[in-house]
Amino acid sequence: MDKVLEVKDLHVSFDTYGGIVKAVRGVNFDLKKGETLAIVGESGSGKSVTSKALMRLIPNPPGRISKGEILFDGRDLTKLSEKEMQKVRGKEIAMIFQDPMTSLNPTMKIGSQIMESLIKHQNLSKSAARERALELLRLVGIPQPEVRINQYPHQFSGGMRQRVVVAVALSCNPKVLIADEPTTALDVTIQAQILELMKDLQNKIDTSIIFITHDLGVVANVADRVAVMYGGQIVETGTVDEIFYDPRHPYTWGLLASMPSLDTSVQTELAAIPGTPPDLMHPPKGDAFAPRSAYALEIDFEHEPPMFQISDTHFAKTWLLHENAPAVEPPKAVVDRRRSMSANFAKPRLVEEAVR
């Protein structure tokens, strides 16, 4: 499949009075046409900063992309001028934010908010844009679009508002859609509706989606591939089956084990991850997750682990995959769901950083 987007060694940092916060520390990933990549991680892991960097929405100062490339259609987005970037933003790469109330303008009718980017990017006339806006509202499942197009955001419920935001984002048929926790503020039933809508629209218009979330249930529902972020780095990436049925990084184990499934009995204690996320002003030496990990080896506190490759699509950044590492038993919740993956290599391979 063709790669739509390629991120290479991305570093984002923020200059504050207290020092430099290294929010994203060397992130590599690519996005193929028509696929959904989920980025998971807790707050402060750098997932939202990564997505904002793709859109060049990091406020500068204090933030800056200090290193790395974002290749989109053969162009490096980090090198574009603000004016050139404005042509990409909304047209080629669109974004859906977490809170539908704050991402819509409360003083503008929703019709004009959808028409805005159509007029700007596609040079449509006002009446043609209005027609297209009606079509979009119908597409995202808003009843009575002729009436609703003249209403203001406060007249919509949370789920309906998020549908409007989706309509705005999709108005110019973007190649990449970045959804930053689009369903976190919504109820489960509404969340299910929005997820179904997004999958449905993806089939219709063939966009690639980057889906940022901390809810593993949602990930299992929407993703083709998953990237797990911790402390500003991607610690594991693989297809959705590889991450859920054959995870290799202790942090992924922790995430999977700390969620009760519907058949977790009341007696078993949840395997909480102890401690708190690392302070990215002074990133820990070695493996950022080591201080919270029961599986940390001595080397984890000294040297940052390299990437190991487990199959063509599965990578994990942990010393546990090194041939000299002791064999460890993952938490019970992970072992219970483990399956053998046929595509796995006989032995994890060390990935040379220079090659990637």
């Binding site: 997820l195 593993l216 249930g217 049925y245 009760p260 499934s261 949840l270 909480a272 102890p274």
Partner: protein
Amino acid sequence: MAEKLLEIKNLKQHFNVGKPNQVKAVDGISFDIYKGETLGLVGESGCGKSTTGRSIIRLYNATDGEVLFEGENVHGKKSRSDLKKFNRKMQMIFQDPYASLNPRMTVGDIIAEGIDIHGLAKTRKERMDKVYELLNTVGLNQEHASRYPHEFSGGQRQRIGIARALAVDPDFIIADEPISALDVSIQAQVVNLMKKLQREKGLTYLFIAHDLSMVKYISDRIGVMYFGKLVELATSEELYKNPIHPYTQSLLSAIPLPDPESERTRKRIVYNPNIHNYAEGEAVEMREITPGHFVYCSEKEYKQYKTIYAK
């Protein structure tokens, strides 16, 4: 567990009474909470679950109905000292750990506020000892007592909220979405802490949340609310195995599970309130399908459900 700690009888909470924008946030719900159990309350936002919690603890004056705590009515006229006595037994943990702690008070003072009001400590030293002990109980350090809330992370703040609730030795704690604002890895920490405290102190919880898998995990019994009404109440095992009310079925079918395989095959059930088609004057109320499993239904539906259940 047979002993009732709390009885809620036909509780109603209406807002803007008599105005055109009258809202029936809670519209006649009845249930009991037994000593030492955790009752989970789930439903979509706006279904009245938080309002129920707030009415029970008298943050709102109920429009109608009774809340009996150990046989005594919570609402109605009360003397100051009665109110104080009652406030000691019932405490609340709030959803937003950022908004629920006073940013201008030290953590020590926040936790000790209840101790001061109820005069539970005679000397300064005793007061601080109590605070330190509480901080240890919830997994924080003594040194944290002199710090301010902004110095803590979300999970730590929620621990402070729990310590504050525990300070007056309550019997009953209402936890209104205590983990919704926290990260997954931190949620498990707080839930484990709450379960540990329940075991050690014999607390009773009313756990309000919309995360159904977490509610199932922590609760003994679960009530499902829809539009100000309780539509189903059963033990958590029973509710997930045999959901009867169509709304409960739809709610359960919408939970995303962390398992790609089941997600690919998942069929979502959509709830349409019109299917009930209640006739005018038809008595719709909570009826017991099997012992301990209540469903809000009409006489006709009751028979229907019973036959379905018998299969």
